[in-house]
Symmetry: C2
Subunit: 335 residues, 2 copies
DNA sequence: TTGTACGCGTTATCAG
DNA sequence: CTGATAACGCGTACAA
């Protein structure tokens, strides 16, 4: 086989030019110790000269590994997913794998894309909120290790998440016990995502523990846009509530801003809390009381676990839950 | 429970089970129209039954395309990179390509990783701020199309960026003309990144146009941590300055918070401006005056351009510059 | 309409 | 220490 006319040098081009076989070129790159120094230097010189880089696809085919993980997220707004990706990428990189990101928002053929992705990676991480059919998940699981995040609906599949119920209970309890709140509202749609469901469960638990009756949740997505609607709903309601537990910070910030704009005293008249501890939470006035999740660490741990799974595919599915941390600022009533 | 066996079905398994040749299986998947309906259905049934997904590596090898682009970023903090990635992923997906993300922060072998990545993708996007040697860039460029972002140092390589000089000049001018500021300071290290350099250039230009002498920049990275240092520096300085133009919002928010905490009136005594328009900018008090960049659109346009480059590799390098928008809030002195 | 056979670029085994 | 060669799984001329 002679040099192909293609512009990209192959292992054959290098071998030819260095006067060795392709086996030697491969060895020089993978196990330099097994090659005589003089030969090695000659080959490396040619590699450098030609700018040779092994083709990843061919390599993957030969070693039977894509050296890549798939990470499927709904979107990338807010710090949560970005931090997750950051942590995951680090953990994956430590194992020599790169990360292929698939964002599902705005795509109408998610199932197809996920299936296709399954053919290019060694393992796949699925955010619980991504709109993918159980059939597709099953098909992918049959091919490679799958880890699901922030969704523990199915116990059969291994999952990671941050603690929600107890944190939400602790937060709600704080509002009730420390700040004497009695008519709290929860903002967010529990049926929307598993973590919201758990946060509401904690909200309910705190009420029951205090002998109070929890109110029905005020439906809202994770978008800031819902803030105004919720805020005016609270105001029109004659402000029957004296505290608002929001499913995330975007919602909380937006609601709080509207309340303040309407002349409502926060936290004097009403407490507001969020979830996530975004950057804005510590810059607004009053500072937003919220819950901080170790998202970056979560991402890294997920990656590490994925690497372990790739080594030994027969370990039983585990359910991992990482602890969160309550961040008390001023919006709840704390000094 | 379905388990991943590690031995995935291949095109041969499907062909065998369906009683056809692999060519037919391949055709059914790629050009269904060329196959008789009955045969097609039989094959598809087996595909479904076995959960067959074509191996991406083998496919790439055969079609000579990785169907993937590389995106190399320093990190993922703040909304900039996340938005960029979001836009790019969308644009790439429209062309059927996935995105492999490489984060360089904290890695000490960036050049190696970038070279390796070059073997797994069809094109590569490099953020100007990533610490990669010119030699590596040259080597990668020899293999595949490379697009550089927010760095126009080398005209030979095609680049994308958002407008900096004129926007910074306009912003500075606003502080001078509208708010009567005379002793402005620029916070950020021009030598750190190309876009910071350009923003400082605009800062200088506005001064010259107004017959003022621009002060030397106050060195600072993009990190929030530098805020306190800069703020106390300004205060200790007897607050010789009546305005601070920061290289980005993180810096501005941090500086502003410290100034306010020290009892300094913002914007009464001193104006503060940022760059990027992060979420916190519209929630703080006073609202942060800043510059908004169409980052998402930028990402998408870069992806579209990359796809064009992949079609026709012989177009001359272009320098693309997207317009930005000045966002006036209260921290500059506006009502 | 369907099947055969070869090429894609690398790794790894086994002789030499 | 080095070389020849067989996989790896898929797409596709070319034949039938």
């Amino acid at each position: 086989m002679v040099e192909s006319t293609g512009r990209r040098p192959t292992i054959y081009s290098v071998a030819d030019r260095a006067g060795v076989s392709i086996a030697t070129v491969s060895r020089v790159l993978r196990r330099p110790g097994e090659v005589r120094a003089s030969t090695r230097d000659r080959v490396l010189a040619v590699v450098e000269e030609l700018g040779y880089v092994p083709d990843g696809a061919a390599r993957s085919l030969a070693v039977k590994s894509h050296e890549a993980h798939g990470l499927v997220l709904p979107e990338l707004r807010g710090p949560y997913y970005a931090d997750l990706l950051t942590g995951y990428e680090q953990g994956a990189a430590e194992g020599g794998a790169s990360v292929v990101v698939l964002l599902t928002h705005g795509k109408d053929d998610v199932d197809l894309l996920v299936r296709r992705l399954a053919g290019r990676v060694d393992g796949m991480v699925l955010m619980g909120a991504v709109p993918v059919s159980t059939g597709t998940v099953a098909a992918v699981r049959a091919k490679l290790p799958v880890l699901v995040l922030a969704d523990r609906h199915q116990v059969s599949v291994e999952s990671f998440s941050t603690e929600n119920v107890r944190s939400a209970e602790q937060l709600t309890r704080h509002l009730i016990d420390v700040h004497g709140r009695r008519t709290l509202r929860f903002v967010g749609s529990p049926e929307f995502a598993d973590d919201v469901r758990e946060r509401y469960a904690g909200f309910v638990a705190a009420h029951e523990a205090a002998g109070l009756v929890p109110a029905e949740p005020v439906p809202a997505t994770f978008r800031e846009d819902d803030g105004p609607r919720v805020a005016s709903l609270l105001v029109e309601d004659g402000l029957g509530a004296d505290g608002v537990v929001c499913a995330n910070d975007e919602l909380a910030l937006s609601v709080m801003q509207r309340l303040l704009a309407a002349g409502v005293d926060v936290p004097g008249r009403i407490s507001v809390t969020g979830w996530d501890d975004v950057m804005a939470a510590r810059y607004v006035t009053p500072g937003l009381t919220t819950v901080s999740q170790p998202v970056r660490e979560l991402g890294r741990e997920v990656a590490v676990r994925m690497r372990a799974l790739l080594e030994d595919r027969h370990s039983a599915p585990e359910q991992h839950v990482l602890p969160t941390r309550l961040v008390l600022r001023q919006s709840c009533g704390c000094a």
